[in-house]
């Protein structure tokens, strides 16, 4: 019998570390960083173990853990993972660990930074694993709180504006989710917030059609769904490296995850009614995001809009309610998470030394930052969907599945991939290749901690690209029943 603790530990360890760090004085910066890295390593090992130990021949939630919390409202602390969330937990573990490694050079208010970062990670782990809607929302909100301070204090370009915009947008989205959750609770009349209880309830078609948009838009804001995505470029540009890595890499996936975990899972008829709209919006995401990225001069803005575009693939895959496309969409969540974390880490290395991110002033950086350039190239190729890297597997599945049901949309999606190739290659050429701009002769390559972190990310991109089997197996275990449930309502 697989023991329950691992899931609770992934939530407890970051939280306990946060409290511990708050108690340590600021001057012990080395100790604080060590503690954070230790927590990150532990969570990575745990998430790896959960991933490997997950039995993909059995559908349903595993590693479950449940205890009473507020019985009068039917709230229990209920954790569990299925094939989809097991991948997300692994993603969180990987990005958390690498984000901490990449931040080893921080010297300004180290204690507050790592404490808030740990709180953020607690929220993310908790949301992915919660099977109780109250706690899903609890951890979801918890992940938003530290963002304002993390961006506002340690960020860069227009940090106060970016921080406020991001926080207000995401909280506004969660307002919609909150109302939807309460409406669900009342309509179910089973006086419980437990997902496994609620999935047995059949909500009326009218109720589903009315409230599905609450979840679609509420979670869509976090997922970067057009037109609610405008917080994303400003927020990511302003955020410090580790925060951008976690946010674009993992938190945006929380939004998409919420749409399927709560929206599609509980309201199949509502999903069917509104998915065509999501498809249209997601396509706009892909195309608009890609073309916007082409027009940007700031390196981080390019990555930011690229994230908006790639999240479009995820949402597109979900919107088709097609098994193949959804498998691809979930894998894309993982693949893009790793990819974007890698990009932000590399951009961080450049910015820390050059203090600018303007593509036009760079040139030939590969001569001074060889590893950065190489890794950037790998990330870029993955982003374009080159076979052999994770991006290809994910996007290919999404396109195949979408083509089966909505051929026109699939073609538009491929146009987006074309545009991606344009801006990625242009970026590589302008910034890294060619003759070295005199201004940058003093730059050095990344330090060994960053090297450790980014090479883990590159490894993951290559691994999933060459050996996607174990990943798809786990995803398919849960996507299959989900789609059957969503379509079965026909």
């Amino acid at each position: 019998m697989i023991p329950d603790p691992p899931l609770a530990l992934t939530v407890a360890i970051p939280f306990a570390t946060a409290i511990l760090i708050f108690l340590i004085p600021e001057r012990q910066q080395g100790l604080i960083k060590l503690l954070a890295t230790l927590a990150g390593a532990l969570c990575l090992v745990l998430s790896l173990w959960i991933f490997v130990a997950y039995n993909f021949s059995r559908a349903g939630f595993q590693f479950q853990l449940q205890s009473n919390w507020l019985p009068s409202l039917g709230i229990t602390f209920h954790l569990g993972v299925d094939g989809i969330s097991v991948l997300m937990v692994l993603l969180t573990g990987i990005v958390m660990f690498t984000a901490i490694l990449v931040t080893w050079g921080l010297t300004y208010r180290v204690k507050d930074f790592f404490a808030f970062l740990m709180l953020l990670v607690t929220g993310v782990f908790g949301t992915f694993q919660s099977l109780d809607l109250f706690f899903f929302f609890f951890f979801y909100e918890l992940a938003i709180i530290p963002m304002y301070l993390l961006i506002g204090v340690w960020g860069s370009t227009r940090k106060e504006y970016g921080a406020l915009k991001l926080t207000i947008f995401l909280t506004a989205g969660s307002v919609l989710v909150w109302v939807g959750l309460l409406a669900t609770y009342v309509a179910a009349s089973s006086a419980s917030f437990d997902l496994l209880e609620l999935e047995k309830v059949t909500f009326t078609a009218d109720f589903q059609r009315f409230f599905f948009p609450f979840f679609l838009v509420g979670f869509g804001v976090l997922a970067g769904l057009w037109p609610f995505h405008t917080w994303s470029p400003d927020g990511h540009v302003a955020a410090p490296t580790a925060v951008s890595m976690l946010h674009a890499g993992v938190l945006m996936k929380l939004g998409a995850f919420g749409i399927i975990r709560i929206g599609v899972h509980l309201f199949p008829e509502g999903a069917q009614t509104w998915m065509p709209l999501l498809l249209v919006l997601a396509t706009v995401n892909v195309v608009y995001g890609a073309f916007s990225a082409m027009a940007q001069r700031d390196l981080k803005f390019v990555i930011g809009y690229s994230s908006v575009s790639h999240m479009g693939y995820v949402l597109m895959g979900f919107a088709t309610l097609n098994v193949v496309a959804m498998n691809g969409a979930v894998l894309q969540m993982f693949s893009h998470g790793i990819m974007t974390a890698l990009f932000f880490a590399l951009v961080g290395v450049i910015y820390d030394q050059a203090h600018t991110r303007d593509i036009a002033v760079f040139g030939g950086l590969a001569r001074r930052m060889g590893t950065v350039a190489a890794f950037f190239a790998v990330g870029g190729l993955a982003s374009m969907g080159l076979p052999g890297l994770s991006g290809f597997v994910a996007e290919f599945l999404v396109f195949v599945g979408t083509f089966q049901t909505y051929p026109v949309v699939a073609v538009l999606g491929i146009v987006g991939a074309l545009a991606t190739a344009v801006y990625i290659l242009r970026l590589l050429a302008l910034a890294f290749l060619g003759p070295l701009n005199e201004r940058w002769t003093g730059l050095t390559d990344m330090n060994r901690y960053t090297w450790a972190g980014t090479s883990i990310l590159v490894f993951c991109l290559v691994l999933v690209g060459l050996w996607p089997g174990p990943f798809i197996d786990r995803i398919a275990t849960s996507v299959g029943p989900l789609v059957a449930r969503a379509l079965g309502a026909l």
Binding site: L70, L73, F139, E160, L164
Partner: protein
């Protein structure tokens, strides 16, 4: 009828408190000027005795003094709550009183007397007792608000509070008299019985009674449009007194609201739900929107309190005579009052801290507090986030509970408005957090903070997080207290 021994035993906490207040008055006569802080410790000791006495009442449920008071779990919950709040306020006051106020003896005694009034209010079982208790609370608070005799704002705040308060009390009394006229009874239970019998002699009189009652009570808790006194009174009053009004008198007001609406006016709840919901909506919107523009932290917290009253009124709107759902709304309100008390006290304590160190209380004066007093900044951030309703803090759970009860009562539109206003409140709280963490300090160096205040702050912060992460103990106490009202 002479009071029996059991009657006296039932009001033991109040008797202790009354006696102790006079003990403090008397001790003040004998203590030299340098030892006046002993009065604070004496008052604290008294509150400990009172709290223990209240705890020993346990699960008793009995009328006292021929039915004018009733001592049940609901009353005991509030007795403990008021005692704890008063204790924290006294802890916050020690340095403030020493530095800025004269006549410390009367100060502490008035806090004790005000608490006494609140305890009696929560235990009242009929109209006149409720009114007298309310007046005891109000008079003590009028004096406390104007306690900084040489400060013009304190006098202004106290004057406004007193004049408007007297007016509101008159309205309340007028409403009570109509209620008596219509039903012929003053005991809450008897009124409910009389009202159940159908429209009693002129429903216009009854409507007038309820309107006047609502007006008077709304004033006491500072609901819109009867909140005008609050910002000036909060800003002018000595900060510990502000904390006391913001937290305790609101709790007392709502204790009375619950008693009257659930025990006396329960047959009318369905008819008046719309009006109460409208009142709640107005209060939330006005309170939160006006708070955005405030420059002074005490005024901002005043408007924020008005907003919080709005959330509590959402709970009142969700009340039904039906035991299951009505009790849910009531326990949600009790829980919210407790969480709100802890968070607000912590917030005001940080304001007192800053005032102690720098003598200022405008929001821009908080600049760089994260560097000058990191723990205080963290505590203020946590309490503001709790007030905004963010998780791991008490406010999240308590608001969720109220909104769940409101959703059950078919008030989802009100819940949507409330969550939107929570978002608005998050914005102006963030502006304070921004000052503390993102604006550089005007002059470097740590602020000198008395250890006692830091310790108190730590306890309050722990409470806020505890309620937010493990609410079950407090929730079951609240639920037990609410169940009593609906038996």
């Amino acid at each position: 009828m002479p009071p029996s021994a059991s009657d006296l035993a039932l009001v033991a906490p109040e008797l202790w408190l009354a006696g102790w207040a006079f003990l403090v008055f008397t001790a003040d006569l004998f203590l030299p000027a340098t030892r006046k802080t002993w009065l604070a410790y004496l008052s604290l000791a008294g509150l400990v005795v009172v709290a223990l006495s209240a705890l020993s009442l346990g699960g008793v449920s009995a009328p006292a003094f021929g039915g004018i008071l009733v001592v049940d779990r609901f009353a005991v919950f509030f007795k403990l709550l008021f005692a704890v709040i008063a204790a924290f306020v006294i802890l916050c006051s020690i340095h403030y009183v020493q530095k800025r106020l004269s006549y410390p003896g009367e100060y502490y005694a008035l806090i004790l007397l005000s608490t006494l009034g609140m305890m009696l209010l929560a235990a009242s079982a009929e109209l006149i007792t409720a009114y007298i208790s309310l007046e005891l609370v109000s008079f003590s608070l009028y004096v406390l608000v104007s306690y900084a005799k040489t400060n013009a704002k304190s006098n202004e705040g106290g004057m406004k509070y007193m004049l408007l308060g007297a007016f509101a009390s008159a309205l309340l009394l007028y409403g009570l008299s109509f209620l008596y006229g219509v039903t012929g009874e003053t005991s809450f239970e008897a009124i409910a019985v009389a009202l159940k019998g159908g429209p009693t002699g002129g429903s216009l009189a009854l409507s007038l009674a309820v309107v006047l009652l609502l007006a008077g009570l709304s004033f006491k808790v500072a609901a819109v449009p009867f909140h005008m006194w609050a910002p000036d009174a909060y800003e002018g009053a000595p900060t510990p007194v502000t904390a006391f009004i913001a937290v305790a008198s609101k709790a007392a007001g709502f204790a009375l609201v619950l008693r009257i609406f659930v025990e006396a006016l329960s047959p009318l709840l369905a008819d008046w739900r719309g009006v109460v919901a409208l009142l709640a909506a107005l209060t939330m919107v006005v309170g939160n929107l006006v708070a955005i523009q405030q420059r002074n932290i005490k005024r901002m917290l005043a408007y924020s309190s008005v907003g919080q009253v709005g959330y509590l009124l959402v709970g009142v709107a969700a009340l039904t005579p039906d035991p299951e759902h009505g009790a849910m709304a009531t326990s949600a309100m009790l829980l919210h009052l407790a969480g709100y008390a802890a968070a607000n006290l912590a917030a005001f304590l940080v304001v007192i801290l800053l005032d102690h160190a720098t003598g200022k209380d405008d929001i821009p004066d908080f600049a760089g507090l994260a560097e000058r007093a990191p723990f205080a900044a963290l505590a203020l951030t946590a309490s503001l986030f709790s007030l905004a309703g963010l998780p791991i803090f008490a406010g999240f759970v308590t608001k969720f509970y109220i909104f769940a009860a409101a959703a059950q009562a078919d008030l989802l539109w009100l819940v949507l408005l409330a969550t939107l206003m929570s978002l608005v409140s998050f914005y102006y709280y963030l502006m304070v957090v921004k000052q503390m963490y993102m604006v550089p300090a005007p002059e470097p160096g740590r602020l000198r903070v008395p250890a006692l205040l830091t310790g108190t702050l730590a306890v309050l912060l722990a409470l806020v997080v505890f309620i937010g992460v493990w609410p079950q103990p407090l929730a079951s106490a609240a639920e037990a207290a609410s169940a009593v009202l609906f038996r």
